[in-house]
Amino acid sequence: MIREPLIFELSAQGKRAFAFPKLDVPTNREILKTLAMRKEIEGFPEVSEVEVVRHFTRLSQTNHCVDIGFYPLGSCTMKYNPKINEKVASSPEFLSSHPLAPQELIQGNLEILKETEGLLAEVTGMEAFTLQPSAGAQGELVGMMLIRAYHQKKGNPRKFVLIPDSAHGTNPSSAHICGYQVKEVKSNEKGTIDIDDLAQNMTEEVAALMITNPNTLGVFENDIKKITQIMHSQEGFVYMDGANMNALTGISRPGDMGVDVIHLNLHKTFSTPHGGGGPGAGPVGVNKKLAPFLPIPVIVKKGKLWSLDFNRPQSIGRVRSYFGNFLVLVKALSYILSLGPEGLREVSETAVLNSNYIRKSLEQDYYLKYQTPTLHECVFSDKFQREQGIQNIDIAKRLIDFGLHPPTMSFPLIVYGALMIEPTETESKRDLDLFIEAMKQIAKEAKENPEILKSAPHTSYVGRLDETAAARNPVLRWDAPRG
């Protein structure tokens, strides 16, 4: 395989990949006179068009992706991304819309936003939505800000936010940025929230609980009603991380569970492509109590026209420019409309079926710490294999040799050596079986030929990479060779 150089290493003076039309207004050197001008952009590449195309095409071929195959990253919901949604979102009327355009000229865009808000509210059972947050973590931050604004208005913003020990790392981080101290709530032997521990920790200084349901083990928090009662009895809020909504669409709604505020990851449950790490979208839904605090602007109908309402005195303000990741919202709307009510339910039913099929098929080969029934994902660990000196990372890297993407590793923190598997609903039985067979084969290799795991992967573009060295001696950019 060709080792693809850095684009800078292909550069040579005088090469071009693009030409502008000739400047059609008079040139005038005067205008540049007073400025701090740069001589040149030092080190900037000069390459030809074919070099650009080959560079990026070759690099693309070193990526695993959903279009190529199974991608069971737990908590990330790597489902198939329908192509029609890309087509819909690439309409010139959407691509060319300026975000500060006069409202009467972008009525279609505003209608899309309003329509999306309404459908997400129906799917989650919430009262109102903001579509501004760019990703899940920004959604969490907005949710926390809404809660804080509410308590602040009541006279005391409160001090603490309760977070289960199984939560995503973004939860404590978002609570912290919102000015809260985090208190951890323990999980019980079933892997769900320990109700007694929650009740003990709940005081009038606790602003909210951040909960993920089903949680990061894939287990439904079936005491959720009790949990919301405990929180509400002292005017605390229940925030739900909606990262695992793929287990629930059309089956159960967070609003009906007593959840006060939720964020969704449209790049998970609602099929918009992850793009190698974004853009996502993290809309936030709230109940009536929190709706007045939503970010501005809010879209309202004035006469026959959609318009932007900035006059919301209790609003937390703005969390990003313009209207959020609009094109991502268009794709998610397209997805919801293509599925319809039965399709949405089938998503979750099938995701749960696929996950349980994998769980059942592998439970003899891999250790399952919690025996509690799970929904859309399951968390094994490397405990059986550790006897042979094999860790979860070795299992993960060996999977690459089978043309499969590894599961999420070492998370949640309550399972040591975790392998978190989320197949999603879009996978065929054949793909699930290929994964199961590979995992069984690896379990066998761990006993018979552990070295092949430790030295994996063997077939990828690069072998196992030294992440420790990368952090110890950071090289974070290319530098022109000296001399």
Binding site: I7, A17, F20, L32, L35, E42, F44, P45, V47, V53, L59, Q61, T62, N63, C65, K87, S91, E93, F94, S97, H98, P99, L100, A101, E104, I106, G108, A135, S173, I177, V182, I251, S252, P273, H274, G275, G276, G277, G317, R318, L327, I336, L337, S338, L339, G340, P341, K360, K397, K429, D431, Y461, V462, G463, L465, E467, A470, A471, P474, W478
Partner: protein, 450 residues
């Protein structure tokens, strides 16, 4: 349409393996009272054909593309080489996750590394991250970062920073121990140095300004950084129109400590405001406080070069509440587009882009200011945007020009009440001379109207 792949036979076999007779058996763990008793109230499913006509009906309500527009203000209409669309639409770029498994994500990782390098070269700083959500949240993250580095309570914000960026900063700092205060602007349209001198002190963590600023005026970054450093504060420069960096000196070379910005101009369509591309660069010493993902170079077991996400001990999944930021998913695919855009234009192309923008804007400015009563109210140098004060109610002019299918500019009074009948005009390489002449002619007519 549905996107599942199990046949009825598959389902039966799978259920037999699990030992159930119906998927309902797997859902028993959800209390009955919490289960939906009827289907969701969403419209019936649509086929591809029906979807396309549904969206067709909606998108034709957007009339904006029928107009000749001179809107800028943080979102810029630039040409995008076709190879950007072509390459970025590959499934290998569009459908992977964040590169947690580097051995099967080298494409994404090497491109992030190249993107970081390009941002460093453009900004004149040592290191850059993989991306942030947008210019506004990048500006807010820069203020938080400066606060972590300095530990002092005050943040000074130029009033000529994009109004929405200022709003976002205020939303972000509200719950932290940061006092945000604004610095006014002068008759040149630059920051008011007297005001800055008065307000900056040893309690100040950071002064954040934009260049070219929201009025289109290029700031004297060198002078600003000298003044901020005199008070041991950090100088943060926001770049909302990065095409300007093809001509203007890199802010890092003029003393900026942190540069945060919006990369939309680099190959990302206007898209009604998103997805866009936040970026951030800073001095090497600040690396442990830089928010977001960072790609770094390393080697594999055979000594071959490879790339990984690195320095993750700054990040939320390791450090949880003590992380530098809560950001996780960012805008990787937009950074990919920017990378393809920048390497396609290359060293000379980016300079040409800036050159054309500046010349066309100045041509329009000269022609418009020859009309009677039209004044350029700020004397500072501008790049591709400028402010004009009109001798008539802006609303009337705007209405007249809209009838001529022109959106002339952004009404600044909405953001700066003191700027009566002032508008911000943006001209890019996308405007032909005849478009500029049409604007001037129509403006002349608008002014002549009784």
């Amino acid at each position: 349409m549905k996107y599942t792949s199990l046949s009825d036979q598959d389902k039966k076999k799978m259920m037999a393996t699990i030992g159930i007779t119906s998927v309902e058996d797997l859902l028993r763990t959800i209390p009955e009272e919490l289960k939906l008793k009827q289907a969701l109230n969403v419209p019936p499913s649509l086929s591809e054909q029906e979807l396309l006509s549904y969206f067709e009906k909606i998108r034709v309500q957007n009339k904006y593309t029928d107009y000749l527009s001179f809107l800028g203000g943080g979102a810029y209409n630039h040409f995008i080489p076709y190879s950007v669309d072509y390459l970025s639409s590959r499934g290998e770029f569009l459908t992977p996750y964040t590169p947690y498994q580097p051995e099967v994500s080298q494409g994404t990782l090497q491109i992030i590394f190249e993107f970081q390098t390009l941002i460093c070269q453009l900004t004149g700083l040592d290191i850059a991250n993989a991306s942030l959500y947008d210019g506004a949240s990048a500006a807010a993250e820069a203020v938080l970062m400066a606060h972590r580095l300095q530990g002092k309570p005050k943040a000074l914000i130029a009033r000529t920073l994009h109004p929405q960026y200022r709003e976002v900063i205020k939303t972000y700092v509200k719950n932290m121990d940061i006092e945000a205060e604004e610095i006014g602007y002068s008759s040149h349209g630059e920051i008011d140095f007297e005001d800055l001198k008065e307000k900056i002190d040893e309690e100040t963590s950071v002064f954040i300004c934009q260049s070219p600023n929201f009025m289109g005026v290029i700031e004297d970054v060198k002078k600003i950084s000298e003044l901020t450093h005199l008070h041991h504060a950090l100088c943060t420069v926001v770049i909302a129109e990065p095409a300007s960096l093809g001509l203007l000196e890199a802010p890092g070379k003029l003393g900026a400590d942190i540069v945060a910005g919006e990369g939309q101009s680099f190959g990302i369509p206007l898209s009604f405001g998103g997805p866009y591309l936040g970026f951030m660069a800073c001095k090497k010493d600040f690396v442990r406080q830089l928010p977001g993902r960072i790609a770094g170079q390393t080697t594999d077991v055979e000594g071959r070069r490879g790339f990984v996400l690195t320095l993750s001990t700054r990040e939320q999944h390791i450090r949880r509440e003590r992380a530098t930021s809560n950001i996780c998913t960012n805008q990787a695919w937009c950074a990919l587009r920017a990378t393809i855009f920048l390497v396609s234009l290359g060293k000379e192309g980016l300079k040409e882009l800036a050159w054309q923008n500046m010349h066309k804007a100045h041509y329009a400015l000269e022609q418009l200011t020859q009309l009677e009563g039209v004044k350029s109210i700020f004397s500072g140098s501008c790049f591709n945007e400028f402010v004009l004060q009109l001798p008539k109610e802006w609303i009337e002019i705007d209405e007249f020009l809209k009838k001529k299918k022109i959106i002339a500019g952004l009404n600044l009074e909405e953001f700066y009440p003191e700027l009566r009948n002032c508008a911000l005009f943006c001209v890019t390489e996308m405007h032909r001379k005849e478009d500029l002449d049409r604007l001037v002619k129509s403006m002349n007519e608008a002014l002549a109207q009784e």
